[in-house]
């Protein structure tokens, strides 16, 4: 992108923020989103942060759609979690940065590690700033979905597979998987094998 210093004063909109970030203004918008679900305030926040987030995300994700997803997810977390922002604990930019970094981290992990486990909010809590010694990690956000999954992972299941490694399904497992009676699964298998034999006969006889 080409920069032209001379044109700067004519651009009213982008200079309204002046050289320095207008922190009190950002804080006020965030508070307004938190307490009033203020859509106008959110639109202001969006116009301030979204293009910058997009730029940063493009540096981390070559894929345009993924960079867009970072913007979408970050800003939608800002909307949904604004009430967790505490301006006594730090600047709005720091808080939004944390939200963005966490979204990016979880997405990169999903893409690279093939694991969608959203660990970032445990590592970098969004609800509290790390500088408040006594309360660190006190009130972190938990991802409801993930919690469900973790809770639902029964120890019993792990015990059963202990010493036995999944190599093949049993007919019973297949029946459960297909949500069919065992008898139906058995006859399906028989039929499918029968068809194979016919084909083999046709090919080789």
């Amino acid at each position: 992108m080409q920069t032209n210093l001379l044109s700067r004063p004519t651009s009213a909109k982008s200079t309204s923020m002046s050289d320095k970030i207008n922190h009190p203004q950002l804080c006020q918008w965030l508070e307004s989103v938190a307490t009033n679900r203020d859509k106008v305030a959110f639109t202001h926040l969006f116009h301030f942060f979204a293009p910058k987030i997009l730029r940063i995300a493009r540096g981390k994700f070559p894929n345009e759609a993924q960079a867009n997803e970072v913007v979408q997810d970050t800003m939608s977390n800002v909307w949904r979690k604004a009430h967790l922002f505490n301006q006594d604990k730090g600047a709005a930019t720091t808080w939004v940065y944390t939200v963005m970094r966490n979204v990016t981290f979880d997405m990169l992990r999903k893409i690279q590690g093939n694991k969608e486990d959203n660990l970032s909010d445990d590592i970098w809590p969004v609800a509290e700033k790390m500088s408040c010694e006594d309360e660190v990690f006190e009130d972190h956000l938990a991802n409801e979905n993930l919690l469900d999954v973790i809770e639902a992972l029964p120890q019993a299941q792990q015990d059963v597979v202990k010493g036995f490694y999944f190599r093949e399904m049993s007919q019973e497992q297949l029946a459960v998987h297909l949500n069919l009676p065992l008898g139906t699964v058995k006859s399906r298998l028989r039929l499918a094998l029968g068809k194979l034999k016919v084909q083999l006969g046709e090919q080789h006889d």
């Binding site: 730029r55 600047a91 930019t93 445990d122």
Partner: protein
């Protein structure tokens, strides 16, 4: 008193979100117990955040916002805003659920940074018990390692790095005594033989890219790989 801290570059990478989950969690666990590093992290985060949202501004202050948005975005920002504010959902902060883990009848609180990580089954050798943390980071292995009083890790080296964060108790090696909260990062130039007189629980991360190229001895005596 905590004596061993992550070096500055590591804290920077942590703040940037550039470290793998295993090391990020290691730094977070340490910072949870170390006010000094907490302070450093808070300061760096503030600076990086400021720079992130300012730099972009400096980079493109010639054009007005709407035009800039149109130019950079293939997505429709207005549509995205509408989409987001349409939802009235609020993410509630759930009360912290403390998770615990037991080793040899002793129960420990799992650090918050690990609370949503999947722990593997316990495996034992002598006075050592290990539970792998399933992070799917290929050659990086992450574990909780418990040492019973009087236990130790046989002398070993690693290709790559080996991080130990002491969660409870203490151990010592040739270089001295380590206590709860210590962040001990070793590389392949270190060889050590830690012993825990009173027992301890550690969070360990090791990358062992050359796992299988070290010949028969290593493989038939996979103790080092078992532990880290």
């Amino acid at each position: 008193m905590i004596n061993h801290h992550p070096k500055f570059e590591l804290i920077q990478a942590f703040v940037n979100g550039d470290l793998p989950a295993s090391l990020s969690a290691g730094v977070a666990i340490h910072a949870d117990m170390c006010p000094v590093c907490q302070q450093t992290i808070a300061q760096i985060t503030e600076q990086v955040a400021e720079a992130s949202f300012e730099e972009e501004y400096l980079d493109r202050f010639i054009v007005d916002d709407i035009e800039a948005l149109d130019a950079v975005a293939v997505i429709d920002f207005d549509h995205m805003i509408d989409d987001i504010v349409e939802s009235s959902d609020i993410s509630v902060a759930l009360p912290k659920v403390e998770k615990t883990i037991s080793f040899n009848d002793k129960t420990y609180t799992i650090p918050t940074a690990l609370s949503n990580m999947e722990l593997g089954k316990h495996a034992h050798i002598g006075k050592l018990t290990r539970s792998r943390i399933q992070l799917n980071e290929n050659e990086i292995h992450t574990s909780l390692l418990h040492i019973q009083p009087g236990g130790g890790v046989p002398e070993h080296t690693h290709k790559g790095f080996e991080l130990t964060v002491l969660l409870e108790g203490s151990f010592h090696d040739e270089s001295g005594e380590y206590v709860k909260g210590d962040f001990i990062m070793l590389d392949s130039s270190h060889q050590h033989h830690p012993i825990s007189t009173n027992g301890c629980l550690c969070y360990t991360v090791a990358n062992d890219a050359l796992h299988f190229t070290q010949g028969i001895n290593k493989l038939l005596n996979p103790i080092g790989s078992f532990i880290y």
